[in-house]
Structures are given as structure tokens and as C-alpha cells.
């Protein structure tokens, strides 16, 4: 079974005869079906260029890009995907209902299908009462919701979301996070590009970090954010325990009745547990995680930005 998205050695150079600015440089990655895949990077890193290539809006200078096993931009692929651009704009003289009707017609849906889909989608995105208002009267959050609704009109297998929570109030923000989670539960694949790293950390299964056109890190959240250290918390430790664990510990500290031992590596965890056996009560063994924001900042700073 092919991956939902496959990008192989993608390079995109803007400018005449490929002699201009390299926006994406030999990037390769795969996104599995049903996965929520985060795609993050600083401004100008190549995120939007990659998304546009996946949608067939621009063309690779070299490399191959397939979506659902077909070349990007293939009309059959476009029947099964959806795209929500950053700060989407729609024809503002139309009502919410008319906008969705316009997009539904692009899929060749008949009147009954359109009517039932649009009603359900307006309900789903919380605009059931605003469907007859023209878009120029909509707030930014409402426009984002109508953008989500247009993206869901064809019940897509893959959704490309570019900054879907940008500029939204906390309620709308939460609603969109919940929506992304519900898409996952329906088996949809979501390709999420966002600067809201907390969103990415909360909802994504895997993340790719792109910087200056190159993919610098890719992996599951656990792989990326595991800092490699574990904190073992002991209670009622015997007096000599702190001294005994020091050779294998990175750090020890006493906090009230608790002794906290920070170790690196599985064998050192086991050593500390063996030493504490019968001489202290084990409270917890907690692997330490870095936040995605910390990791992102670290990577970008290392790259000299």
C-alpha cells in the first residue's frame, strides 16, 4: 500500500532556468496514511513551497512528489485531498452557504448532495446560524471556520492545513485542535504546517523540521523530544544512597523527603534501582522530554538564524 505522501529528493529553485533561489534542497520524507504529520520551520524555510508542490500548484526543479500513489496535482488526487491556505480569502460578496456551494459544485456534486453536505458542515464548524450572512460580515475566526468547511466538503483522505490556527481566539483555536484530532480518529491523514508549536506537539504523530530549504530533523514526537535523561524519585532513602548513586548519576538533589536522581541511559536506570532496592521507596521513574519549541529553537539557532 503506497504512503499517503512521498517526497523523494525534492529540490525547488525559483528563478530563470533554475539559477535563482533554492527554496527546497533535496528534501525527502514520507507520510503514512492516517498520520498527523507536522511540518515546521522558520519563515522562508521552504514549508509553503513544499505544500504548493504537493498540491501541484508549483513544479519541482528535480525530485519526485507523489500523493496517494499518484503524481502531485493529478486530478484524481485532487478529488481526495483538501487544502486550507494560511489566512484564506473567499469571494466576500457570497454568503457562507454560497461559498460552500461553489466549492461543492467544483466536485460535480448534485443539488441534494450539496444541500445536505453544506448544512452538516456549517453545523460542524459552528456556523449554522451564519450561513446566510455574506463573508464580508465574518470575523477572522469565522472565515477560518468556513475555510475548514470548504476543505471538508469532499470528505478528503488527506488535508493540507497551512497555519490553521493563526490569529484565532482560544475557543476557535481549541475547536480546530479538536477537529484535527477527530480527523485522525476518522482515519484521515493531516499534513499540518504551523508556527504554533504547542499545537503541533499536541496533535501530531510525527514532525519534520525544515530550515533554509533542508530537512534537518524528522521523527515521532517521542524520538524527537526524548532528551535522553530520566529522573528517578526516591523517598525515605538511606543516608548513603545519595553518595552511592553519584558515580552513575548526572545529577542528584534532595527536595524535602525526596531524593531525585537524574541518569542517562537504560543501564544506569537499572543500576540506581538496584542500589535503592530495600534502602528507599521508589516514587517515580520519569523520562525527561524536551518541548518541541526548545528543540526547534535549538535547531534553528545551531543553523545560525
Amino acid at each position: 500500500m503506497p504512503e499517503a505522501i512521498s517526497v523523494q529528493d525534492l529540490t525547488k529553485i525559483y528563478g530563470p532556468d533554475g539559477g535563482g533561489v533554492t527554496a527546497v534542497d533535496h528534501v525527502s520524507f514520507q507520510v503514512e496514511k492516517g498520520e498527523i504529520f507536522g511540518f515546521i520551520g522558520p519563515n522562508g524555510a521552504g514549508k509553503t513551497t513544499t505544500i504548493k508542490t504537493l498540491l501541484g500548484l508549483i513544479f519541482p526543479t528535480s525530485g519526485t512528489v507523489t500523493v496517494l500513489g499518484h503524481p502531485a496535482g493529478d486530478i484524481e488526487v485532487k478529488r481526495r485531498i483538501a487544502y486550507l491556505p494560511e489566512s484564506p480569502y473567499f469571494y466576500e460578496h457570497m454568503t457562507g452557504y454560497e461559498v460552500l456551494d461553489f466549492y461543492a459544485r467544483l466536485f460535480g456534486m448534485d443539488r441534494d448532495t450539496r444541500n445536505s453536505k453544506i448544512g452538516a458542515l456549517l453545523e460542524q464548524v459552528g456556523l449554522a446560524k451564519d450561513g446566510k450572512r455574506v463573508l464580508r460580515q465574518y470575523s477572522k475566526g469565522m472565515l477560518q471556520r468556513i475555510g475548514i468547511a470548504q476543505a471538508l466538503i469532499n470528505d478528503p483522505d488527506i488535508m493540507f492545513l497551512d497555519e490553521p490556527t493563526s490569529g484565532l481566539d482560544p475557543i476557535a483555536h481549541k475547536d480546530i485542535q479538536d477537529l484535527i484530532r477527530s480527523l485522525k480518529s476518522q482515519g484521515k491523514t493531516v499534513f499540518l504546517s504551523s508556527h504554533q508549536l504547542i499545537d503541533v506537539e499536541n496533535v501530531c504523530d510525527r514532525v519534520a523540521i525544515i530550515n533554509r530549504g533542508s530537512l534537518v530533523k524528522i521523527g515521532s514526537m517521542d524520538e524527537l523530544l526524548h532528551a535522553g535523561t530520566t529522573v528517578i524519585t526516591l523517598a525515605h532513602a538511606a543516608d548513603d544512597i545519595a553518595d552511592r548513586v553519584k558515580p552513575v548519576a548526572d545529577k542528584t538533589s534532595v527536595e524535602g523527603e525526596y531524593l531525585k536522581v537524574t541518569v542517562r541511559g537504560q543501564e544506569h536506570i537499572q543500576s540506581v534501582l538496584d542500589m535503592a532496592k530495600g534502602k528507599a521507596d521508589l516514587v517515580s521513574v520519569v523520562p525527561q522530554r524536551q518541548s518541541l519549541e526548545d528543540l526547534f529553537v535549538e535547531i534553528v539557532r545551531e543553523a545560525g538564524r
Binding site: 508549483i58 484524481e76 491556505p85 480569502y89 469571494y91 457570497m94 461553489f102 459544485r105 476543505a151
Partner: protein, 288 residues
């Protein structure tokens, strides 16, 4: 269905453009105002009335040509760039829409918008000249009874002038051609540059008889002759659509209106198809 959906949306969007509304309202206002020409010109004979009516017809056709040129330029220069700037194109082309369907849909929308605008102007224009001719006919009838002119002489004043319908259609056809040229330009030029390029093409096209003469001239520089030959061959011949004199003085022109209209219509359609096809090719691999 997709082409028609995009065309309908384009019409709805275009008809709400303030600048187009202003052009339309001003043009219609001026056409209506031309009714008052009878107050500024004195006529006391049939000939005077005919001259007066001809002036109104000439003014109306000229005004529609100017308004039509402005409307087609302003409408079509932003047809594609505006969709890119507003990013609506991304949500449309990420749906199962072929690029040719988008281009043809946008152009069909422009064609319909132009038809609505020129149709409205033409309707008001024909109404105005019909009313004016009717008013003059009535005045002439009363004068005729006073000075014993023949009844036949009075009836020669044509109330409904079919030639003015042809004139309106010719204006529409020429701006259809101009719109297709501007559409092609809009796939690779910015709206401002496109506006000036479109205007230049229109002006050169109006002067087609001059470029033809220069191309065929015996004297002169060979390079310039070659240049004029190319320009004359590429730039649409808008002079073909300029039929004001023929329509205003049908008695002096030895033209079969049916054949002539068919020929010009075919020319316009071929040009439009060629330009739209080129626009589709130009847009096919355009980086969005």
C-alpha cells in the same frame, strides 16, 4: 459544469467592482443626457432633424466604445492576478479543477460581464435614439401638417434603427477580442503593465489600416516595413469593427450587412479562440 461555476462566480465578483459600476453608470448617464441634444441644436427641417439624430447616434456609439474599452481593460487585467493575490486560486486549483477549466471559466465570466455591461448600455442607447426619433417624428408631423409636407416625407424618419443594434454588437465583438488579448497578458504581466499593453494593442489595432499601408508601402525602410507587416499580422484589426460611418450612412456604403457581420464575427471568434488557447498554454505550467 466547472467552467460554468467559475464563470458565474466571476460575473458576481466583477459586477460588484466599484470602478466598473462607475464606468457603466457614467456611460449610461451620458447616453441619456444625449437626449437633450435636441435642445442645443436647432432644427426646422427634416434634414436638420436627421443631422441631430445622427449626432446622438454617433455620440452614443463612440461613448459605448470608450466605456467598453475601459471596462474590458479594467475587468480583464486583474482576472488572474487578483485570484493569485487573494489566494482564492489555491483553494480552487486544489479542487479537481483543470487549469484550462479555470482559465476558460474566468474568461467566460468576463465575456458575460462584458455582455451585461455593453448590453445595458446598448439597451439604453437604442431606447434613447428610438425615443428621440419618435419625438422628432411627432414634431415633424406637426410641422408637416402646417407647411403641407408630404406624409411620405415624414415617414422616412426611421424610429427603430436596426443598424444601431448591429453597431452595439460590433462594439461587443471588438471588446471580446480585446478581453482575450488582455486575458493572455494577465497570465504573465502585472495588472498595471497589462493595462498599458492592452491599451497599446487597442490603439495600434484601431490604426490597422495605417499599419497595413505602411507594410505595403513601396518606399521606406525595409526593416520598418517588415516590422509593420508583423504588427499588422499579430495585432487584432480593431478597425474591422469600426462601422460607425457605415451604420450612420448606410446609403453611401455598398455593403451586405449580413455577410459583413458574419465575416467580422468569425474573425472575432477565431481571434478569441486563438488568444484563449495561448492563455491556457501560458497558464499550464505557471508557478502559482
Amino acid at each position: 459544469m466547472i467552467i460554468w461555476t467559475i464563470a458565474k462566480t466571476t460575473v458576481g465578483d466583477a459586477m460588484r467592482k466599484k470602478v466598473l459600476q462607475i464606468f457603466l453608470v457614467v456611460a449610461i448617464g451620458l447616453i441619456v443626457l444625449s437626449l437633450s441634444f435636441s435642445q442645443t441644436l436647432t432644427f426646422s427641417s427634416r434634414e436638420g432633424a436627421a443631422v441631430d439624430l445622427m449626432l446622438v447616434k454617433s455620440f452614443g456609439l463612440g461613448l459605448m466604445a470608450i466605456a467598453g474599452a475601459l471596462i474590458s481593460l479594467v475587468l480583464c487585467v486583474s482576472l488572474i492576478p487578483q485570484e493569485i493575490e487573494r489566494r482564492t486560486i489555491y483553494t480552487i486549483l486544489s479542487k479537481p479543477v483543470n487549469r484550462y477549466e479555470f482559465i476558460v471559466g474566468k474568461f467566460l465570466g468576463a465575456v458575460l460581464t462584458l455582455a451585461i455591461n455593453i448590453g445595458l448600455m446598448g439597451l439604453v442607447f437604442i431606447l434613447v435614439i428610438t425615443l428621440k426619433a419618435k419625438g422628432m417624428e411627432m414634431s415633424m408631423a406637426s410641422v408637416a401638417s402646417g407647411v403641407a409636407q408630404t406624409e411620405a416625407g415624414v415617414q422616412k424618419m426611421m424610429v427603430f434603427d436596426m443598424n444601431m443594434v448591429w453597431g452595439t454588437i460590433m462594439i461587443y465583438l471588438q471588446f471580446l477580442v480585446l478581453s482575450s488579448v488582455v486575458l493572455l497578458f494577465s497570465t504573465f504581466l502585472t495588472p498595471t503593465v497589462n493595462f498599458f499593453m492592452g491599451t497599446a494593442v487597442y490603439i495600434i489595432g484601431i490604426m490597422a489600416s495605417m499599419t497595413e499601408t505602411m507594410a505595403k508601402s513601396e518606399a521606406g525602410n525595409a526593416v520598418l516595413k517588415w516590422l509593420y507587416t508583423i504588427v499588422h499580422a499579430i495585432i487584432p484589426n480593431f478597425d474591422k469593427f469600426n462601422v460607425t460611418n457605415t451604420l450612420l450612412h448606410p446609403e453611401t456604403a455598398n455593403v451586405n450587412m449580413g455577410h459583413w457581420t458574419a465575416g467580422v464575427t468569425l474573425y472575432a471568434l477565431l481571434y478569441v479562440v486563438a488568444m484563449t488557447t495561448l492563455a491556457v498554454f501560458a497558464f499550464w505550467k505557471k508557478e502559482l
